[in-house]
């Protein structure tokens, strides 16, 4: 198998893409941590809040999705 040579530029692009996904995933995690705790607390008081709590908890998931979109855009730059 012929060794494929990957240029430094392509490598940097890959690192950029991974940072975009990874950092946003951490941000999402931090945001969901706080919301999730509060949602569980609210649910302990009033069980009907399960639905709303669940929805509120997944709201920050947008952040990582934006990260993913950016990553795809960056990879698109590599061609």
């Amino acid at each position: 198998m012929a060794a494929e040579v990957i240029g430094v530029g392509t490598g940097l692009i890959a690192i950029g893409a991974s940072l975009a996904v990874g950092l946003t995933a951490i941000a999402t995690g931090m945001a969901e941590q706080a919301i999730g705790t509060a949602a569980i607390g609210a649910m302990a008081e009033k069980e009907e809040l399960f639905g709303k709590g669940l929805i509120l908890t997944v709201i920050p998931e947008s952040i990582v999705i934006f990260g993913l979109v950016v990553a795809i855009l960056i990879i698109g730059m590599a061609g």
């Binding site: 198998m1 494929e4 929805i55 709201i59 998931e61 947008s62 999705i65 934006f66 795809i72 855009l73």
Partner: protein
């Protein structure tokens, strides 16, 4: 379909003599949502009504019937109203209540005896008895009965007293049942036998006691063979259980039907508590769907001969009208998602129908696998039988999983497999494709599909964004109609049209400028983008409208339009995540299969475990994300909510 049912405000005013027949009619029609009367001030002319006197009698019998239903484990979900007169029901219920209580007591008694023998506690039970030999008494023509009995000491003593004076009775309680020893003159044998039989007397190991007793005039505390007594107790227990079963079979229908009837009666007789009333009159306020109002008026006039005043009015703006959904059967499951969030208010468009259109599409687009779709479908079909309470939710999932199967066929995904092995491929006559990696060429047999998710990520992203643009635009159109109806056309244009004419600019940003949307979808969308000067003009005009309509808050929210649209990228992201996980599981298992028997076994385990986890995630995340796209992105464009549910007075 996109509006809640039209409601009319109804007031019924009349003399108290007609209250009962009015209540019966309202309950039978089951169309009026009653507003509870609250006494606002001390000098309010109207007081809260009082329940009918019969209520107490209903409640008493109802409690008895319910205790039988729960003690006997009767299912009452198929109950039909028992229409016989209350007196007959109450008489029968009382008899059944004492019968069933006796049966249950007998069952408890034999259960305890069986336990005592099982745990070898007979000696302990007997030692509770204070048996001693009285000096100077001639025991020779005395009979004795030692054992368990299903009656308390007082009753026994009473009944013995009436029979004879010559007896000695000692009793004690062990594990809640009575242990007794009776010495009685021999000539009363027959009578005592009968009495004891009635009380389910269960003797303890008589031969042993006898042997010992006759020589020493004391019961022996050593028992050699207790098995026979144990068996007797067990058979008696079985017999009682059978009798209880028969009792249950015979009377369960009566009990269930009567419970329903009495529940209805008691609801009716308690209902005056919800009305306003004076000494001689009553006043009911409530809501009735417009379609049912005519019938309501006719029935009430007929039953009272026109002696009550009925007033039907259209609701005015300030009224908090209860919401009754008006949907065809297939849309009904999605009402559950409105209950979960908040019901629409009376004047606005009810979004349930739009959820019915888009929720399954989003769910299916994310799950998008024939195999997973079938598993989810099977799972929810099975759940439907076991959980009738969550019927709406489950039906919504069934529709969503059917759409997933269709998307699975479009994407050509079957448990994550997108291609088959060459052998199977040739057998099925699948057209092979050549895949070029650098200098190597691989021949694969892809399962027929319209679009492959794993090979067209950019395209998938473009599609997701397209969904977002269309969905949000629909949201603004609904918002426009809502505002128009509530506040007039001027407000509607200022608040919603401003956002709508921003769309060409947003599309330009997403396609040419950012390059998120590419390929043929970008070409398609570019038709909507006018030449640059017009586009900028529209955007500026839109901005002006938004500033006038919503003020500074609107400007702050401008970027949210783009982020809301980009948020639909989750349709791609969640789907790809599930697909990638499935691919990893399949690859891992595929490699295992190449290495011997243990490999095959662990490969199968990996497949089962992996796909189970992935399906669990595949139900949860598409569900949550699809719901979120509706609640957060779609609803914020038009929905206010805050409605309260219409609950009619009546049965079901």
């Amino acid at each position: 379909m996109i509006k809640p049912k039209d409601m009319l405000k109804v007031s019924v005013f009349g003399p108290k003599t007609y209250m009962k027949s009015v209540i019966d009619t309202l309950y039978g029609l089951n169309v009026v949502h009653i507003e509870d009367h609250t006494k606002k001030a001390e000098d309010d002319v109207f007081d809260i009504g009082e329940p009918f006197e019969e209520n107490e009698r209903y409640a008493e019998i109802l409690v008895k019937i319910r205790s039988m239903i729960s003690n006997l484990g009767i299912k009452n979900d198929q109950a039909k109203e028992n229409k016989t007169s209350f007196d007959i029901i109450s008489k029968k219920a009382n008899t059944l209540y004492s019968d069933s209580a006796a049966l249950l007591r007998e069952k408890e008694y034999y259960t305890q005896i069986a336990t005592i023998y099982e745990k070898k506690e007979v000696e302990k039970a007997l030692s509770q008895l204070n048996l001693y030999e009285e000096e100077g008494v001639d025991y020779s023509d005395f009979l004795y009965y030692i054992g368990f009995i299903n009656a308390d000491n007082e009753t026994l003593r009473d009944q013995m007293d009436r029979m004879t004076k010559k007896f000695v009775l000692t009793s004690s309680s062990y594990r809640g049942i009575t242990v007794t020893a009776l010495f009685v003159e021999a000539k009363k044998k027959e009578k005592v036998d009968k009495l004891f039989e009635n009380h389910n007397f269960s003797p303890i190991d008589t031969p042993v006691i006898k042997a010992s007793f006759e020589t020493k005039a004391k019961p022996a505390y050593r028992f050699i063979k207790l098995d026979r007594e144990h068996d007797n107790a067990k058979t008696s227990l079985m017999k009682v259980k059978n009798r209880i079963e028969e009792f249950k079979k015979e009377h369960s229908e009566f009990l269930a039907d009567s419970e329903l009837r009495l529940r209805m009666e008691s609801e009716k007789s308690e209902s005056p508590l919800r009305f306003a009333s004076t000494k001689n009159s009553f006043y009911i306020r409530g809501w009735v769907p417009k379609v049912n109002s005519k019938k309501l008026e006719e029935s009430l006039n007929k039953i009272t001969g026109g002696k009550v005043h009925i007033d039907l009015k259209k609701p005015d703006k300030k009224d908090n009208v209860p919401i009754a959904f008006d949907h065809p059967k297939i849309v009904e499951p999605f009402e559950a998602f409105m209950d979960l969030y908040t019901l629409p208010s009376y004047k606005e468009i009810d979004p349930t129908f739009f959820m019915f259109l888009t929720f399954p599409i989003f769910f299916g687009f994310m799950l998008g696998d024939v195999g997973y779709g079938l598993v989810v479908l099977g799972l929810f079909l099975a759940l439907k039988k076991t959980m009738p309470g969550a019927k709406n939710f489950i039906n919504a999932f069934i529709i969503a999983s059917l759409v997933s199967i269709i998307f699975g066929m479009v994407f050509g995904e079957y448990f994550g497999y997108e291609e088959v092995s060459p052998g199977l491929g040739k057998m099925l006559g699948i057209h092979p494709e050549e895949l070029v990696h650098g200098e190597e060429t691989e021949i694969i047999y892809p399962i027929p599909h319209i679009f492959s998710r794993s090979h067209g990520i950019q395209e998938l992203l473009s599609m997701s964004i397209l969904f977002g643009i269309v969905h949000l635009f629909i949201g603004y159109i609904i918002g426009f109609i809502n505002v128009w109806k509530a506040h007039g056309i001027k407000h509607a244009i200022l608040e919603k049209v401003g956002w709508m004419i921003m769309f060409p600019g947003v599309i330009y940003l997403l396609t040419d400028f950012l390059g998120v949307v590419t390929g043929y979808i970008a070409v398609m969308l570019s038709v909507l983008v006018p030449p640059m000067p017009i586009m900028i003009g529209l955007a500026v005009l839109g901005l002006i409208l938004i500033v006038i309509g919503e003020g500074a808050r609107g400007v702050v929210e401008l970027p949210a339009l783009i982020s809301n649209i980009l948020s639909y990228a989750r349709l791609m992201a969640v789907g790809l995540a599930s697909l990638s996980l499935a691919l990893v599981i399949n690859d891992l298992a595929g490699q295992m299969f190449k290495s011997g028997v243990i490999g095959v076994i662990s490969g199968i385990l990996i497949l089962i475990l992996g796909h189970t986890i992935n399906i669990a995630l595949g139900i949860l995340s598409p569900f949550l994300h699809s719901l979120r796209l509706h609640y957060v992105e779609f609803f914020t464009k038009f929905f206010h909510g805050g409605g309260r549910k219409y609950k009619s007075f009546g049965w079901r």
